[in-house]
């Protein structure tokens, strides 16, 4: 769901870890623990690996020590702000085959792009160019196969003024529904690039503030755990 997913969908990120969204229940955590044991993975930061911390929205950070994955970092999360429950994420996943020497070696589930975009709306500067690129790449890659769902996705998530102004003219029938959910599209309809830029910035600021507020109690808990070590 992290950097590799961004690479897959077109927004290059040099990812140094692998992020997993998981369902946090006892049987699944047992399976995860088995896989982590094979990788000789150890928890490298607070919080400890437990279902309670996962269900409260924390990430668990591991580093692998097995020779074939030496130094690889793995982050595991079960809840993300603004992102649906795991069952819906799983329904919307993309599956890819990683082939090795012409043989099908591995089936990998990648978070669906609409969920990845939502997950990337954080307080961090680095995530916002990624959101823009993810949706741009999706638009350029699929605009000749525009379905109703894709048009709605672009109208709700594009952050590129030029494209927004272009698509509100092309997909007029979808505008009333989209406008009810995203009022800044009115500036795109009017072709007012300056107002649209300002409204996109405001939209980003609101998401960043919401993310900071979401993380405030979790950060305090992490701080307490660090001091208790």
């Amino acid at each position: 769901m992290g950097g590799q997913a961004c690479v897959f969908y077109g927004a290059a990120e040099f990812s140094r870890d692998t992020d997993f969204a998981i369902v946090a229940n006892p049987s699944n955590l047992d399976r995860l623990q088995s896989a982590l044991s094979e990788l000789q993975a150890e928890v490298i930061a607070v919080p400890p690996f437990s279902i309670d911390f996962l269900n409260r929205g924390h990430a668990i950070h591991f580093r692998c020590n097995s020779p074939d994955a030496l130094g690889m970092r793995i982050d595991v999360m079960a809840k993300m702000r603004g992102v649906d429950d795991f069952s819906l994420l799983w329904e919307r996943r993309t599956e890819i085959e990683l082939a090795e020497h012409g043989q099908i070696a591995l089936l990998v589930a990648v978070m669906g792009i609409e969920d990845l975009v939502r997950a990337k709306k954080t307080q961090r500067d680095k995530d916002w160019p990624m959101v823009r690129r993810l949706v741009e790449a999706h638009y350029f890659g699929h605009r000749h196969e525009a379905s109703a769902a894709r048009i709605d996705f672009w109208l709700q998530e594009l952050r590129t003024t030029e494209i927004l102004i272009e698509i509100v003219r092309r997909y007029e029938a979808a505008i009333p529904h989209a406008l009810a959910k995203r009022s800044l599209l009115q500036h795109a309809i009017e072709g007012n690039q300056d107002a649209l830029t300002a409204a996109l910035r405001e939209e980003e600021d609101i998401e960043r503030a919401a993310d900071r507020a979401y993380w405030t109690p979790l950060r305090a808990e992490l701080e307490r755990l660090r001091h208790a070590r």
């Binding site: 897959f8 077109g10 970092r73 993380w215």
Partner: protein
């Protein structure tokens, strides 16, 4: 109709035109180059990240040694 070059620089436009599978393979190739140059798998310090720990040890190369020796440095 807008072209990728109308929005982003050529390098990004090329990246957008790759298929997801091609991007994955290219990323794997870049990983190998990065690691061969002694690149670290530790996280970049990011004070905006909720997971940032200022007391965490600084980054070291994945295998404890770099594949590159610095022979000369600039003034900064």
């Amino acid at each position: 109709m807008l072209a990728p070059e109308d929005i982003v620089e050529g390098e990004w436009a090329d990246w957008y035109r790759l298929t997801p599978q091609e991007r994955w393979r290219e990323s794997e190739r870049l990983w190998l180059v990065y690691l061969s140059l002694g690149g670290t798998l530790d996280p970049e310090p990011d004070t905006q990240s909720p997971f940032f720990d200022p007391s965490a040890p600084s980054a070291v190369a994945a295998d404890g040694r770099t594949g590159v020796r610095v022979l000369r440095r600039g003034g900064v």
